[in-house]
Amino acid sequence: HMKLFVSEGNPHCLKVLAVLKLTGVKCDVQHVNHEEKVVPHLSRPTLPALLLPSGMHLFSANSICRYLGEVSGQPSSDLNNQWLEWEASELQPAVAQALHLAVLQGKGSEASSALQGQLSYLEQSLCKKTTPFLTAEIVSVADVVLWAALYPILSDHGLVLGDQGKVQNWFERVGMLAACESAAQEVLQGKGLKSEALKAYMQKQPAPPHSQAQKRDNQPCNSPEVADGDRVMSEEEILSATVTWAKGLADRPMISDRQHPILPKEGKRNILVTSALPYVNNVPHLGNIIGCVLSADVYARYGRLRGWNVLYVCGTDEYGTATENKAREEGLTPQQICDKYHTVHASIYQWFQVDFDYFGRTTTEKQTQIAQNIFWRLHERGFLLEDTVEQLRCEMCQRFLADRFVEGTCPFCAYPEARGDQCDKCGKLINAVELQEPKCKVCNQTPVVRSSKHLFLDLPKLEAPLEQWLEKSMGSGDWTANAKQITRSWLRDGLKPRCITRDLKWGTPVPHPDFSDKVFYVWFDAPIGYLSITANYTDQWEKWWKNPEQVELYNFMAKDNVPFHSVVFPCSLLGAQDNYSLVNHLVATEYLNYEDTKFSKSRGVGVFGDMAKDTGIPSDVWRFYLLYLRPEGQDSAFSWADMAIKNNSELLNNLGNFINRAGMFVSKFFENCVPAMDLQPEDKRLLALVGWELKQYISLMDKVKIRDSLKCILNISRLGNQYIQVNEPWKKIKGGDTDRQRAGTVTGVSVNIACLLSVMLLPYMPTVCQTIREQLNAPPTVTATMLQGTGNFVCCLPAGHHIGVVSPLFQKLEADQIEDLKKRFGGQQVSTMVVRIYSTWPLIRPFPHQGEKVRALKGQKAEKAVIAVEVDKLLDLKKQLALAEGKNQEPDQTKGTKNTQHAPSPATTAQAVINKADPERAKELTLAVAEQVRWGAEAEN
């Protein structure tokens, strides 16, 4: 049996009573007080409420009404759902506001204006309909719900609601139903706003949040036109777009070819672009590529199109322990390893069409010269400190041991396999020299404690000039939010001296005689690579790097590199006092994950640069998808299925489809010759819309919002597709003269939009753009004209222009093709990961679906054989879990992360705190000397 609880004066109860009467569903009705708590799990009294036969409650009017409709044999249609949702989320807040004003504050006139937006939406929707009711010829639940919501206000004739005739008619039509009439009598005594019961009810309600109501009012985007994708363009905007269009191509010269060496020019915007130097010892994965080189490439290409004087340099970062280790692994010298992997990197970036002006490396003579020069300048100016550090040294291996290469007994809990930095058992941080019975992990010999003198960059002494510079740079430049935030958190914690030397062979030698057996620590050394790589490109490198007045420096990187570019390296350069160009715009991405996990070379998970080309998917499509996913503002995830969807829906169905159609119409219907265009208001409106997107594109690109501006391109082709679809030139071409002329105009405008797209798309998909241009035979001055200033969409292919041969630009990615790729790149590892994730919640049903499936089958009394198959699957899952847990010797990583924030002082310890989330990076960063790398505590999963 069901029971409906209602209270007098509550307009929501009007809805349910009217629907109950309309549907005739059998149900007890109980009148209760407003304050009565009917639903046990809600802390506030909530009415109406429906007690279901199962003992559960429905506690909102719309859900109750929908249910009553369904049990009476009227399942809710999409349209009915849509109106109910609109009523609950859009109309209701406005109604609450209006009732509050009218009933409690006596401001009837303001009440009607609070409802204006919603009523005109309703009016417009009713105007488009041919049926007397909202969803059909007969009354539906949605009609009654909306009627009841508006009843108190619309039934009051004292309120003037403006020109809403359709709403008025519909409202009266619904109100005449006996069910509604009688419910209104029962709940509000048929009195509307003047009902005493309504007033009593309103007095018990909390005041509606004013800000919310205002927000909704000020949001024209919720109006139907804009929601449909049709931005409303003003007359001026349309006029100005038409004027721009008519200007045609400017007479300006085409963008000149690059002439090396590129040097800063007087009166030009001189942009120096760097991308974080990829570490040489490994093949870069997609996350590395999108975070650094590809993002920088898009911006550099865009800058060149804008006519700026751009220099884009990058190279491989080659010194460090990781290279030495890799060399040992592969039985080569470090130099041979660097030569080998430098080539690997260069060829991957070439395949991705990354257009460096120069791609160099850090193991060069120039690197030594410049790094040693900066070192001496810092030394002369008193910015270097000496300190002694105790470290473990393996005499057998002849080297100081990084923490991860030591194992021993934990001094706190006596666990025998504690690592050099942390005990896996008790989770405490350990100073490697305090380990009992330490062992070298490579040769198993006992290392000895040795004191070693090291040099530290005195960051505290440089803090004041750093902060002064940062304030200026962040204030005037485009720093991403994460770059600002990470930098501020470093400064907030206070800067500490940072070690710049290490006991290694493979590095830039420290020129100081007291430290002759040492090299520079990679993070002092590596950013100097930007300078030395430029110096290898041109002897006049100082025109870029010692010229802050003329040069704007853009650094691209993933967020883990931010502190080195915003704090450490600027301090080196500020301390050297040599008028260096410091970063103006620090552009950092978040992380790109692979499917649901992290890219990991050691686990073989993910797609690596060298494998991308083996997929058979063109470089341009890879670029498009990576840029579409660019982790701008938040982490994103690469997924094969999603890549196929984006390729098929955005590239094939949207962009490619539009460009191809536009071109095909010109060649098929007009013999390759752009037809005459006679612009109608509709065409001019389209020009304005496209022009608006172009301006957005430019303003976003100027701010390095690379992913967002890509959306503008796709919006334009979407507009184009809609335009073609509505105007149907393929039909009109078969019609009379007027129709044929219309087909010509639509085709001409479309092919001009296609030409604009070839300009906007160039930074993202260079090869496709070249193809489009050849197909359209686009004039060379197109780019300079369209991307001038804030953007100008001009008629660039005028009537009479001959286009080339048009052919499709993209291919469909088939489901089986994608399945294959998914299996090839880390299927096994991914499924293991999934099992491990479940193991973190062992108490509550580790395999929800499988367990559920088995239970359901048993419940349905399914065939034994069928159940047996599913039970086997469940047992297998459980076995995998046990296996995963058995193998899983790693402690809960989340426990340690808080502790790592407080590393002991550098003078007393050889503690390296590393980013646990990335073993490759960790390897590189782990040092046998005092280091404090404070990462934003990123717990792994």
Binding site: H41, S43, L52, P53, S54, M56, L58, S60, N62, S63, R66, Y67, E70, V71, D78, L79, N81, Q82, E85, W86, A88, S89, E90, Q92, P209, Q212, Q219, P220, C221, N222, V226, A227, D228, G229, D596, Q634, D635, S636, I645, S649, N653, N657, Q696, D708, K711, L714, N715, R718, N721, V834, T840, W841, L843, I844, R845, P848, H849, E852, T894, A939
Partner: protein
């Protein structure tokens, strides 16, 4: 399901909402693009019918198109409970003020005391949309608060580990053992 030449076209300004919808795309090809106005109501344009708007409406439609109607509930009563929580999500959770958060968590916690999922013992659309709607709240909870709303946390952890649900959202760490037990002494 194929929608012909133009595909199916979804516009929204709200990233959370978009992600919600994508979970149910099944084999439906959908173009998602972000408009630059702060529109909060997603619109789905279809080539086989008029555009649909509203998060719950679109999600419900996509689930049906993907032949996953079981996610909407298996009886009229079950469907009503699912719709009830979907409505709760868009009316109470979305745009909730700071002072409402406690009430929402408290009520959900009481409700979930004897349930695995929002609509009983079966995973439904209500769980997914609620997960996305409440994620920003749960992320900000302190360990102590997570323990206070232990039923919500358990449900949340359950849902975030449900295959294919979490997508781009960061996982929220839930401790296995209680840290704060001492409200009694």
């Amino acid at each position: 399901v194929s929608f012909g030449d133009e595909g199916c076209n979804l516009e929204t300004g709200d990233q959370y909402n978009t992600t919600d919808l994508l979970d149910f795309r099944g084999c439906v090809y959908i173009n998602v693009h972000f408009t630059f106005c702060p529109a909060q109501v997603p619109v789905l344009q279809r080539s086989n019918g008029p555009a649909l708007s509203g998060l719950v409406t679109i999600a419900t439609y996509l689930v049906r198109e993907a032949n996953r109607a079981e996610l909407l509930g298996e009886s009229a009563e079950h469907r009503a409970i699912v719709q009830q929580w979907l409505e709760y999500r868009v009316t109470k959770v979305d745009g909730c003020q700071k002072e409402d958060i406690k009430t929402i968590l408290k009520d959900l916690n009481t409700y979930l005391e004897d349930k695995v999922y929002l609509a009983g013992n079966q995973f439904t659309l209500a769980d997914t949309l609620m997960y996305y709607g409440i994620h920003h709240i749960i992320v900000d909870l302190a360990v102590q608060e997570k323990e206070k709303y232990v039923n919500v946390t358990r449900w949340f952890d359950h849902v975030q580990h449900y295959p294919g649900i979490r997508n781009h959202l960061p996982p929220v760490v839930v401790l296995k053992n209680r840290v704060y037990t001492g409200s009694h002494h």
